[in-house]
Symmetry: C2
Subunit: 251 residues, 2 copies
Amino acid sequence: VHGALTIEPVRPRFYLPSLDASGVGELGEDEAGHLTRVLRRGAGAEIDVFDGRGRMFRARVVEAERTRVVVRAEEPVAAAPEPAVQVTLVMSVLKGDKMDAVVRDATMMGVSVVQPVVAARSEVALAAFGRAGRVSRWQRIAVASAKQCGRAVVPIVHAPVTLPDWMTRASAATVLVLSEPSAGPGRSFGEVARGQAVDLVIGPEGGWTPEEQCQFSEKGACFIALGGRTLRADAAPVAAIAALFEAWQAW
Amino acid sequence: VHGALTIEPVRPRFYLPSLDASGVGELGEDEAGHLTRVLRRGAGAEIDVFDGRGRMFRARVVEAERTRVVVRAEEPVAAAPEPAVQVTLVMSVLKGDKMDAVVRDATMMGVSVVQPVVAARSEVALAAFGRAGRVSRWQRIAVASAKQCGRAVVPIVHAPVTLPDWMTRASAATVLVLSEPSAGPGRSFGEVARGQAVDLVIGPEGGWTPEEQCQFSEKGACFIALGGRTLRADAAPVAAIAALFEAWQAW
C-alpha cells in the first residue's frame, strides 16, 4: 500500500482540566467546537478525555451543542507513560515561532514544566511579552502536543522571567546547564548523580556571558556538553532531553 | 546587555569540495556570490574553507570577481569533531518541507549519510521525486547546516529508494530500527553491542507494516524504543541520534 495513510487514534482526545471526582464535566469552548464543528460528533459519541494532570478516561458525550459539550467519564484508560525524572526546561526565549516549536517538542519529549527565561544574550527582551498573549498561546500548544503524543499530563508553561530572577529562586532540583562547544569541555549527563527532578537550562545562540556562568556555578549547577557540533538553540531541547533520559534510563 | 546580539564566527566559512593538495581552489558559483555580493569581501579577505570530507583551512581570497573567487588555503584549522560512530539515517520521506528540517538536523547532529526511503505507509510516493530537484536541495541544506554547526564533513544525501530496495542491500552496519510505542516494548540503545557504523531507520507516522517488521527482523535488525510518548517523525531523528550517542558515548 504505497501512498498517504493517516492513522487516527481510535478515539479522539479532549482536554478536560475541570474533570473532578463526579466524572462529569464540560469541555472548554475550543474543545467543544472541535468536537461539534470539526469532528461533527454529538451526544452518544465515545471520546477520550484527559485532565492534564495524568488521568485519562474513555468518556461519552451526554450533551452537545455548538459550544457546550458535557461528557461523562466511563473508564480509566492508559495514557503514555511519564518519564522517571521530572524535567523543568529553563529555556532562553527564542525569536518568532521558534519558541512555539520548543514548547511543542518539549511536551512531546515529556517535560513537566517549561520556564522561559531572558538571558543577557537572549534574542527577545522581557518587555516583548507584556500584552502579546504568548504564554496562553504556548499553553495551547502544550495541550495540542500532549494530545498528539498521548500524554495525559500537560506541562505547565510559565511566563518568562529574567535569568537573574530565575537564579534567585530556591529549587531542590539538580541544575544542569547546556554549554556550547566553544565554552570548553563540559561533563556528560551520565557523570551526574541521578536526581528526581532536573532544571535543564538551555541558553541563547550567543551563549552565556562569563557573569552568567559564574552565577550558575554559585548555584551549584553542572555544565553539560553534547559533543562538539554547535546545536541550534531550537533543536537543543530535544537532543538534551533525549540524552538525559538515555543516560539516566528515565524514558 | 539585553536585546539581540548575533555572534558571527570569526571567519566566514565556505564549502570548497574541489580543494586538492595544491591548496588553491575556486569557489562554486553560490559560494562565490555569497562572498562577493552578500558579505562584500574581495581579494585579501581571510575566510575558512572546508572540503566536506573533514578538512578545514584558514584561507585567503587571491582573486575575486562576482562569480569567480579563487582562494589559497594557508593553515589547517580545527573543525567540530566528528562522532565516534558513523550513522546512516535511513528516513522514511516526509511531506512538504519536513524532510528539509530532517536533513538540516541530522547534519547538525553528526550523521555521515542520509538515505531517504519510501516505506509502505510513507506520506510521499517515489514517483514524486522524479524531476523535483529535491535531492540537490537536500544536499545544499546539508552544506548550509554543516557550516552552521562547524562540521568540516558534509553528509552524503542519497536519492530516495523504496524500502524493499534498501532492504536487499548488503551492509556491514548495525541496523537499528526505531519502533512506535504502540508496537510494544523495544530494546534501548544501551542494550545493543556498540558498532563502528549504524543504519538508524526511522519510519513514517503510520508506523511499519507487519511485513516490514518481519523483513527488518530477517535482516538482523534490532528494534529500539524511546519511551512511551509518540514522537513526531520529523523530531524523531534528533532524539534518536542523541540517545544513541549518549548510550554509546559517541558524541
